[in-house]
């Protein structure tokens, strides 16, 4: 039943037509087309030529592709693991300690500061840190020199040993505010009496934190981990702005790899294969997360 008595439901379809038509043209058709292209050899000029699984076979043996996924794991560490763990502690401290003993205003101010990098276009955020890491006369190198640590000066983004690590630092900086804001909102659900009871039972801060806080805000932890993991797998802007995947392939990620196959190497079929593989990974991960979340909610309810 529609919410309108006496009004035929079918008429509502009219309102869905513009949205669905647009969606089909802009999302569905290109998506299917891209999957089709992954089975072709296509250089963008003459029509695509069907080559079956050749691209996929090549992909499985392509070291550069596997490196790009390894780097995605590094992005997950920088954008999911570190920010979520740090975010839990920071949110709990801001909420419990700063908010209650030093004033809610001050806690909100700190929260806004943590969130600041999140509002920037991510390519600009990367450029801000990239400027500090400049090889010649960069701020970090100059400061190191000034404090007598000149030996530690380094071409942070330009040498293979530190480039990935530098990008990871950028991403931690960008990402840290997101879990803090969400967890702080979630903490408002926690009943203070639970803490008092636990305190009376002799539980220390860490025990209360793991047993009460973490278990109550678990839904938000799932949301943060899922959305941040998807974002980590999609990282493109910072790589494009800072390293273009280099030096060598040391910071290449799947999205940049497919972009460069599309528009630099003109290997459109192979680029489509990489993009399709990335899509499959993201969709599978999303499904696993949602199933895991439902399962943990069920277990929680059964207790």
């Amino acid at each position: 039943m529609s919410l309108l008595p006496g009004v035929r439901k079918r008429g509502f379809w009219l309102y869905l037509i513009p949205g669905l038509v647009l969606f089909t043209i802009i999302i569905l058709v290109p998506l299917v087309w891209n999957i089709y292209l992954s089975f072709t050899s296509y250089r963008g000029i003459r029509p695509p030529e069907w080559i079956g699984l050749d691209n996929w076979v090549k992909l499985m043996g392509d070291d550069k592709f596997w490196v790009s996924f390894q780097n995605s794991v590094a992005m997950i560490v920088a954008m999911v693991v570190v920010p979520t763990l740090l975010g839990l502690v920071l949110a709990a401290l801001l909420f419990d300690l700063v908010g209650k003993k030093f004033g809610g205003k001050f806690a909100s101010f700190l929260r806004a500061t943590y969130y600041l990098p999140q509002i920037l276009p991510v390519a600009i955020a990367a450029i801000v840190i990239g400027w500090i890491l400049r090889p010649e006369n960069g701020a970090l190198n100059t400061v190191l020199d000034a404090v007598g640590l000149g030996a530690l000066q380094h071409n942070w983004l330009g040498s293979p040993d530190t480039a990935l690590l530098s990008v990871m630092v950028v991403m931690v900086w960008v990402q840290i505010g997101y879990p803090v804001v969400i967890f702080m909102a979630a903490l408002q659900r926690v009943d203070p009496e639970l803490y008092e009871a636990a305190e009376l039972d002799g539980a220390n801060w860490f025990q209360r934190f793991t047993a009460i806080t973490v278990s109550i805000i678990r839904p938000e932890i799932y949301v943060v981990v899922l959305t941040a993991t998807i974002a980590a797998l999609k990282v493109f802007g910072p790589i494009y702005a800072l390293t273009r995947g280099g030096p060598g392939d040391s910071t290449i990620v799947p999205s940049y790899y497919s972009y460069s196959e599309f528009f630099q190497s003109q290997q459109v079929g192979y680029g489509a294969t990489i993009a399709t593989a990335l899509t499959v990974v993201i969709v599978v991960l999303t499904i696993i997360f949602i199933l895991a979340q439902n399962r943990s909610e069920r277990l929680e309810n059964e207790r």
Partner: protein, 282 residues
């Protein structure tokens, strides 16, 4: 520690140490902004002499002015503003129509439509990129801001539909029934009842769509190749590593890139924090 109302909070030494720790983290996050701010107002010589941490010996605005003219910054601001504003309005309209059919009309197959939109939210843009590039070239909209506007209207409305359908699903039934009994048509109910009542949610969506579109990178980079069409993030990124950019001009470029979003943040801070947290429990 958790009895704020009953007694004046007692601050122990441990509390102060933890406070210093969280403030230090905040400082660490804020420092890059301050460094960029300070160095954008220095001349290259001033930078070479005083280093990155000193205050400018005199206020030097040539770096900012040079970069401003070099990229024709007002043009880029207008492009970003036009694209993001148009997308925000169109995407809200499309989302409202979709959600009206799904949340209030409860059309058949609505669950599938919602699942479709939800999956679309997680897809990487690379998976549509080349076909879109090909399609827009064919219809002559490549290197035209409208290509980006059309794409993001669809991308943002996928999220908007998802969120608004849930909101409309809980719409007070009596109000719609009353309007319907008064003889209002479907269109009138949408225009005169549903939209006015859900205006707060719609304005949050509008702001979000605007900022998200402003911050987009991959698709504007691919579709807006000529200088005159570029958005702020793309134009600034394109000039990084340019030989004509000295060290403080580069800093100025980063400053110009972050100022617009900082302004949005200051204006919409409350709406944003409310929106982020509302989105998290969807």
């Amino acid at each position: 520690m958790l009895k704020p109302h009953r007694q004046k909070p007692r601050r122990t030494v441990g509390d102060w140490i933890l406070l210093i720790a969280v403030v230090l983290v905040a400082a660490l996050i804020a420092v890059p902004f301050l460094i960029i701010l300070v160095n954008s107002f220095k001349s290259p010589t001033d930078y070479a002499n005083g280093g990155p941490l000193s205050l400018p010996s005199s206020i030097y605005t040539d770096g900012i002015a040079n970069f401003w003219q070099r990229v024709n910054f007002p043009e880029k601001l207008w492009n970003s503003f036009f694209i993001s504003g148009t997308v925000a309005v169109f995407a809200v309209i499309v989302s409202v129509f979709n959600a009206y059919a799904i949340g209030i009309g409860r059309v058949k197959g609505r669950v599938w439509v919602l699942v479709l939109f939800m999956i679309a939210n997680t897809l990487p843009q690379e998976a549509m990129l080349y076909p879109l590039y090909f399609m827009f070239k064919q219809v002559g909209l490549y290197d035209n801001v409208w290509s980006v506007i059309i794409i993001f209207t669809v991308v943002q409305s996928a999220f908007g539909t998802y969120l608004l359908s849930a909101v409309f699903g809980t719409f007070p039934k009596e109000i719609i029934e009353a309007a319907s009994l008064d003889g209002a048509s479907r269109w009138q109910i949408l225009r005169r009842v549903v939209v006015p009542i859900s205006r707060p949610t719609l304005s949050v969506l509008l702001i979000f769509f605007f900022i998200w579109t402003w911050n987009e990178f991959l698709i504007p980079l691919t579709f807006l190749v000529s200088n005159a069409n570029q958005t702020v993030p793309v134009a600034i990124t394109a000039l990084q590593g340019d030989r004509l950019m000295d060290v403080t001009t580069t800093s100025a470029s980063a400053l110009l890139g972050l100022i617009p979003t900082l302004i949005f943040f200051l204006i919409f801070q409350r709406t944003l924090t409310r929106g982020i947290t509302a989105g998290s429990t969807k």
